[in-house]
Every structure is written in structure tokens, then in C-alpha cells.
Symmetry: C2
Amino acid sequence: MAELDLRAYLALRLPEVERALDAALPERGAWPEPLARAMRHLVFPGGKRLRAALALASAEAVGAEPSRAVPMAVAIELVHTYSLIHDDLPCMDDDDLRRGRPTVHVAHGEAEAVLAGDALLALAFEVLLGTAGADAAAVRDAAHDLARAAGARGLVGGQIDDLRFDPAGADAKSIESVHARKTAALFTCAAVGGARLAGADAAALRRLRDFGERLGIAFQIADDALDADAGDACSYLRVAGERGARERAEALLEEALAALDAFGERADALRAIARAGVRRSE
Amino acid sequence: MAELDLRAYLALRLPEVERALDAALPERGAWPEPLARAMRHLVFPGGKRLRAALALASAEAVGAEPSRAVPMAVAIELVHTYSLIHDDLPCMDDDDLRRGRPTVHVAHGEAEAVLAGDALLALAFEVLLGTAGADAAAVRDAAHDLARAAGARGLVGGQIDDLRFDPAGADAKSIESVHARKTAALFTCAAVGGARLAGADAAALRRLRDFGERLGIAFQIADDALDADAGDACSYLRVAGERGARERAEALLEEALAALDAFGERADALRAIARAGVRRSE
């Protein structure tokens, strides 16, 4: 079958996510303006919205309207943004720039950055739990997955292990364990949660979990391979070099794609997002 | 009717909450140990668990077993603890001591304190959304309330206004607005959420919301009155003095108690908690 035109797909689907993000983050009225500005800083403009796209494409893979996954897409982008804001703080990675712009604590102050992150995390749950027109148990379960992915078992646990990572003890397993929590947990949550809101059955959710776990690690290893000069302690380059990293990412991508076989061509958007996420050259 | 013996009530009911908190925060195995230690630091020993008690007593007020509200009680204590950890950070109130012990960032490091707070917030949702044996829509709605109470509309918005509070412009309304968000939002969430998990109807939930909103502000004004020397910018003492603060707290307590009239004696535990919370002398 012909490969889906990913650029056209994203141009068609993502504007609904941007509008929903904008509506969830009013510039004034709902909450103190200095907080509103700090909360919006890194959300607009955002990154590639790859996680949001996964949620939408996953609803499509189970035969539903992608729009049904919009609250999941918004929630995932908010959690992703919160984690970047806190990771950039002086007491963590102490980064001044993110996507070529000042980080939130540089632009808005450190207390504001901590609080903006906190508020974005809470807002993710508010948006997701406010999903209209979905089964209550599906919404509850999608939010439960999100809580696990965001917390000590997922993002936060991965970040603390990353901060304390000892390059001398680096092996493929310890690096993939950090990647699984810092990156793959949210990828999985996006893919599974999008399908949950769309009413998917347990077998479909299992396949999407397999897909997300492998894709997330592949994505992060591909990231390591692109970032050859950065010298992060916890990079796959340390144990396998650039070529080894690309081969491992490719092998995991193949496993991720295999998990989608049963969905047929309805999963073409998921496949295209996965390939584009792992086979990057920029 | 005779007043309930609050001390005996709490001694009977709170151990179940302590056990559930302990189970939700394993010392090892589930996540990185430095994170687990930082997460537990301020949870054990905790404060008076007033918010947890509200959740249990509120289930009782609507005629249910208090145990049904345990996940709500645990979630509220976790959110309360997370907010104290982040409020104490050097970039916020910069406090070294809390309840006579080193604060989390002093004892475990600043990055660990930020991450422990983040993880406790996520864990609150994980515990609440994992509630077994309750109606899925009730669980979803209780968690939605919690997200609103914890976020920019509630705790976080109150904290940023508190940090930026201008004592020159202090009036009763601006102070009560901060108290409503920093304190009353969680009190309300505990009271309403405990009843939600217990299957309460909309009329009961409305009464408990009225109760929680007034009690929370009364509690914080009583706190201001006890803390006459502390000189917080955002204290009711600034606009009304100690006697005025005590009178305002008492008036709000009466309004809170009036909201419970329709529950009859089933709300005696709620009444006793409310009186003890506002009429403190220590």
C-alpha cells in the first residue's frame, strides 16, 4: 500500500489540537496573569506535537473519528510541556534555552516556572477528566494511565535516574530503562489513551501498548544518535556508538510496526508517525 | 445532642488512612529509592490529617461507610504534602523547617524536592483513579474536582498570588480570595469527593461544597489569628486584627455548620472536625 502523506495528515489534524490547547490555557480571566503567561510560554509555539498526533492516529487505528482523542492529545502535550519546564530548572539540567527561546524560568522567574509546571500537570488531568461524550470508565482509565506515566514509575522516576546517571556504569539496559520512563511512558499513554477514549477493546489496547513502548525507546535512541556532540551521560551512543544506536532504533521500530499488523490500513497514520519519529535526519 | 468525641473518632478512623498512605508510598522496589525517601519525608509523620478526616466524615454524613472515602483521603493528603514541599523551595518561601524538621529540599536536595512534589501530585491521581468498587463516573468527577482544586484556579493560583501579595493593597476580599484557593479548595474537594465516592446525590454534594468553602476560609483565618507574630503579607490580621479575625472565622464556621443541617446527626463527625479546626488555641 502507498505510504500516507504525513505532512498533509498533520496539517489536517493538528489544528484541532492547537485550538483545544489554546482554549484550555486562557491568557486572562481564569487565573492570575503572570501564571497564565508562564504556562503558555512553552506550549505556544510547541514542538512537533508528535505525542498529540499519536493519540489522534490511535483513535483512527481502532476505527473511530480522530477528534474523539483530542482531550488525550491535549493532556499529553501539557504533561510533556510540564516535564520540560521542570527539567530545565536551575536545580535540574539548568538550561537557559529550549527550542531556541529562553526557558520558562529565564523568561518568567523560577518560582513561576515551578508553579507553571505544577499547574500544567494538574490541567492535563482537568482536561482529560472533563472529556465529554466518552464512557466514564474509559476516561477514568485513560487518566489512571496518565498518572502512572507521569509519576514516580514513569517520567519523574526516569528524570531522577537520569540526573544521577553514572556513565561509568552505563549499559544498554540501564539506558533503555531511563528512556522507557522518560519517553516511552508518555508515548504509550498517548497511543493507548487515544484508543481508550475512542472505545477500543482490550486486545487493541494491548497492541497499542506494545507499539508505544517500543516506539518510545526507538524515538529516544534515535534522538541520542542525532545528538552525537551533546555528551549526555545517559545516551545510547555511550554503549553502541552512532551506528549501533541507529540499528537498535530501527530494530525497535520494526517491532513497534509489527504490533500494528492486525489494524490493517487504518493504522497507516500511526505507521507514518512512527517512521518519521525514528528515521529523522535533522 | 451530645458532641462527638473527636479524639476517639480520629483514633478509630485515621489508622486506615495511614496504612493506605504507607501502601501507596513503598520505600523500595516500585521506584528509585532516593525519590521514594524524598516522597515519604513529609508524609510520615504527617500533620493532623484534617483533610483526610473531612473526606471520611463526609462519606459518613451521606450515610455510607467512611472507608469508602479512603482513596479520596489519601489523594488529598498527597496533594497537600506536594504543595507544602514546593511552597518551601528556595525559589518560593525558602523555608528550612516544617513541623520542626528539615524541609524536603534541605534533607534530600532541591531537585529531589521538586521531583518528589511532582511525583506526589501524580500519585494522588493514581490512587484516586484506582479506587475499587466505586461508580466510574463518581471516581472521574472526584478526580476532576481534585485537578481543578490543585491547579491554576486553586492551589497554584493561590500560591502565586500569595508570593506576589502586596500588603499595601490588602483588603479582606483579596486575602479571602487567596485563602479560598490555597486552603478552601482542597477542604472542599475532600468533603465533596469523600461523598462522591460514597455515592452521594447532587443536593448533598452542593451542601458539602458550601460547607467546605466556608470552613476552609475560616480555618485559614483562624491560622492567621494564631500566627500573630509571623507577619505574613497575606494575613487577615492586617485588615482586622486578632479579634476581628477570630470573629470572622467564627461567623464563617457558623455558615459552614448551617450547610450541614439537612444531614442530621450523621454529620456530627464533620461538625466536630470543623469546630476543632477553627477553634484552636495552640
